[in-house]
């Protein structure tokens, strides 16, 4: 598979919905430790609404799948993650106006998404947020493409890096979002938003058939 189709984008969102549902309790548990214990139900509610919308919509472009998904997250999630994830997908969707997208186009789109989130939430790398999974994922994806990897291999690398990035949030002290209220006490816990970002990349990896993803 060497390009992203509309069907693949759809399959990605569906796989994300399944994964969020499956891992909802885990995400909520992570959020309960350093936040307010709703991240799992937020993600589940949002992505299940997305899955519902996907079923009865015709999409003209790869980007329109992501844009609608983002809009749906914004109207159904609330909290910090609704606007943030909604913005990632909406911004990423804007650039992908064709019925397929090359691996490089997807990279640029996701970079737009990340920039939009950083603009909206003001988080830097190492602030212990979803950005700490997103940034390494895109870096790995980009490096893989430069090394000549195909879509599957690049997405696989991104998913692995996102997972590692999420793990790497454990010792960090949070400086954004609710966990920042805890100061030093936020250490020793994985950031829930970074964990769900890792799930999002794992879902993409699974639908592109990337090799050896968890």
């Amino acid at each position: 598979m060497d390009s992203v189709t509309i069907d693949l984008a759809r399959a990605w969102m569906r796989a994300a919905a399944e994964s969020m549902d499956e891992h909802a309790e885990e995400l909520t548990r992570l959020d309960a430790a350093i936040g307010d214990g709703d991240h799992g139900s937020n993600m589940r509610r949002g992505f299940s609404a997305v899955a519902g919308k996907l079923a009865d919509t015709d999409f003209p472009s790869v980007g329109s799948v992501l844009t609608l998904s983002g809009r749906t997250l914004i109207s159904t999630v609330g909290g910090a993650s609704g606007p943030l994830y909604g913005t990632v997908l909406r911004s990423a969707g804007k650039r992908l106006t064709g019925s397929t997208a090359s691996p490089g186009e997807l990279l640029d789109a996701l970079r737009d998404g990340m920039e939009a989130v950083r603009g909206l939430g003001g988080a830097q790398v190492r602030d212990k947020t979803m950005v700490d999974a997103l940034a390494p994922a895109l870096a790995a994806y980009s490096a893989a493409l430069e090394d000549g990897a195909d879509l599957g291999a690049a997405v696989g690398a991104a998913a692995r890096a996102a997972g590692e990035g999420a793990q790497a949030t454990v010792p960090m002290t949070a400086r954004k979002g609710r966990a920042s209220y805890l100061g030093e006490r936020s250490r020793g816990h994985q950031d829930p938003g970074a964990a769900s970002t890792a799930l999002l990349f794992a879902a993409l990896a699974s639908v592109v058939g990337a090799p050896d993803v968890r």
């Binding site: 214990g37 709703d38 109207s75 609330g78 910090a80 606007p83 909206l120 400086r175 209220y181």
Partner: protein, 332 residues
Amino acid sequence: MKKFLNSPDTVIDDALAGIAAAHPGLAVDTRQRIITRARPTRPGRVALVSGGGSGHEPLHGGFVGTGMLDAACPGEVFTSPVPDQVLAAATAVDSGAGVVLVVKNYTGDVMNFEMAAELAEEEGVRTATVLVDDDVAVRDSTFTAGRRGTGATLFVEKIAGALAEQGGDLQAVADIGRRVNAASRSFAVALTACTTPASGRPGFDLADDEIEVGIGIHGEPGRSREKLLPARDLADLTVRTVLEDLPLSSEDPAIVMLNGMGGTPLLELYLLFGEVAARLSERGVTIARSLVGNYVTSLDMAGASLTVCRADDRMLELWDAPVSTPALRWGL
């Protein structure tokens, strides 16, 4: 987890049905999830809209009514409402004079209300936002998301709501709200964690002689874990912490709220308030007005927060103005 519940997924819908049944003076739109006054906004009057995650009842729905809010939009438990909801509330109550949005300072609330404000402006509804950030447990710095909005929200909603009722314009209503927020500080302690319907278990574990100090209203752990203290020492700690951040002279009339977190009975709140009042008076603070009860809660958490507002005569006058809502009512 033992709660009066049908299913964690339907908590908000089910509770809204109850609010609708209990308060004929309110209009509850269960589809859009907004609570408004039954009667439309008088033309030309500024409207006040607030909202946030559920689990803090009576905040905000219980403060909808004459002299306070025009609409509330409750999100899921501890999850800010979505922009669509806030937009629906704002357009429902705007009479043309604009809408003041009272927003508690949390990343999610701020973003969702901002998006709603943009959408509202697009639809020709003027808005002004009052951001509430009164919790001294959080240092306002580049290392945090800024101070949390807690008990002062009630003060802002009451006082700004009174001015809106009296005909203040958008700018004036927002201004007094901001002044009240700037003059208010809160600090809270928890004896137990709360349990969200979705997670089904307490957010943290406390030993039988431990408390969390400097907690917020979302069940998160606080600034530190301490040994349980007698009420008089807890009152001293709380009063001291608040006054360190908000110096008061004996000429400043203080509006003081001792607020229960949802699982603390009134007997204990009164007992603690007796100590708080004594500690305040020792420090030369004059309690001009007070509230003791469960107003800004955190589900079933046992605990209490102290909010002090260094009021001025105008604020006091607006505080005393008539209010008629399910949870706050006087002078009417």
